[in-house]
Symmetry: C2
Subunit: 336 residues, 2 copies
Amino acid sequence: MVSSSVKDVAALARVSIGTVSNVLNRPEIVSPETVERVTLAMEKLSYVRNEAARQLRVGHSSALGLITLSGSNPFFTELTTAAEDGAALAGYSVIAGNSNDKKEREAGYLNLFEELRVRGVLISPVGNVVPRLRRMRERGIPAVLVDRVSKDMSFSSVSVDDVAGGALAVSHLIETGRRRIAFVGGPAEIRQVSDRLRGARQAAAAHPEVTIEAISTEALTVQAGRDVGQELAQRSPQSRPDAIFAANDLLAIGLLQTLFIQGDVAIPEEIALVGYDDIQFASASVVPLTSVRQPSRLIGETAVKILLEEADDPDLEPRQILYQPELVVRASSAPH
Amino acid sequence: MVSSSVKDVAALARVSIGTVSNVLNRPEIVSPETVERVTLAMEKLSYVRNEAARQLRVGHSSALGLITLSGSNPFFTELTTAAEDGAALAGYSVIAGNSNDKKEREAGYLNLFEELRVRGVLISPVGNVVPRLRRMRERGIPAVLVDRVSKDMSFSSVSVDDVAGGALAVSHLIETGRRRIAFVGGPAEIRQVSDRLRGARQAAAAHPEVTIEAISTEALTVQAGRDVGQELAQRSPQSRPDAIFAANDLLAIGLLQTLFIQGDVAIPEEIALVGYDDIQFASASVVPLTSVRQPSRLIGETAVKILLEEADDPDLEPRQILYQPELVVRASSAPH
DNA sequence: GTGAAAGCGCTAACAA
DNA sequence: TTGTTAGCGCTTTCAC
């Protein structure tokens, strides 16, 4: 057996297929009795609309494409859920993929999205996708950058002020008496990382007695954090920093493991620790973790809203939305 | 400007649209020179195939639908990635959604997938979806159950032996000298939970001196684990269990927090702890966690393989694949 | 090896 | 208010 079509529904309800289409798309212009009869026929046949045929006719799908950097980072998980919720409210679904920081995967998803003629794309870019996005926009597929601003501002973007976030973290550490601060994070090419470091340096600039030591990592993972922690634990106490600002919470948790549990370094007494993202495990770790929180849901919802507006009116001026992060203080950075 | 179509490519390459379609789908039957000319024209126009039109013609999409129970559980994240990889190898993409244990969300995704005429669906079901899946199968959309077996075996399934997993955990606790074992997990309606408890009881059955106390939770989250831990910490030491088997690692980590860190209960000395899933944080927690590991990637890959085989041949007999879990012993369950 | 043409299921413009 | 019809872009069958 094969799926039933408008034709079958029309036959059973004894109306034309045009009328069936109308009850599907503008029921208000159809008489109530006809709507009733057609609806009944649909139920009887368990009719399910063929989205491909609809899309072919109207020119674009009712899906949005979303590409995030990482599927395992709770920040993006939340952002994705929020985008799905926002899209659903407007009758759209979201096709989500993550690039895992790989340009090829990113390109693959953009291809897929273009083949699918999605209504628009939300993207947290890895490579330089602006030319590609520009071409897609010329073809009627708008894009909104998420967690990243396009240098020439030719695309709308919704992001968080990572420089401010870095400054927030380090100012807090300075205020609570720390002087030798290490920044742990990498690779430096990830804009979020370099911005957070920049913010850290800005906050330290006003305090000549404060030093920032940047320690680079290969990835933003728990394992990378453990490696750095191991190294720090082996240093003599005097040559160790008295505070660490980690570029994200996964790193911070790794640091906690090797410093505090295996390395016998007291946290926060000997070393204060601040992470970034405020993931669920931050409050549930050995020493509850001070962290910089980003409004992940708000970002996702806003990005969808802007994208749909641009899909409806391609001539809208690009907008740059910049949210401010917030510091959540917990035990890992309690004052001396 | 609007997207270019086969027509534009045909005109530019001075061939018929049929030939353009052939170089797209069966280039081997087209002469090399023609392929060359057409390919060039495609590049010049940056032609991107309209997937909706292709799909309308061939009757189904080149996407697979996947519904998992939870987007935040690393077990499902890995399974999803594996499914995507396996599908990509066969030229399919995966549209992933998660039901968050809600029947309505599950139904919503099934609707979407049917509108999309996906090639097949992989599902870790919440409600009783078998009738719905049966109807979809009649219409040419096969389904494979993931991490769940259908009672009547009318659908193929790929799952892990949760009863064996529960037995594995509890046998290990008994062997290392534990006698008063608590099982923490819930809700009981989740089949994974009840199976693991059943396995635990089976393992204990041969040892009359061993008791299993089942403590039910409302969810499989860190917070639920903390709540139970709090309660246990308040009991007198003699009335506390000497071992806990948690239905998943998130629970176990919550237990660890309130028992070990806040509650001053020595782990593993006073209470041994075993979790389930072996998520990334298991080895990185305060006390590295003994856990039951499931082959998440293997499950995802196998499920895709079976699904695609059934999509190609709807008359294939349903198959039940059952993998065995594996115990990973760490410090949280070291012997007395 | 290539071209012509039918038709997938739907929507929307137009006619009645 | 309802019916008729063209056509979206593609694949595929059948001639040539």
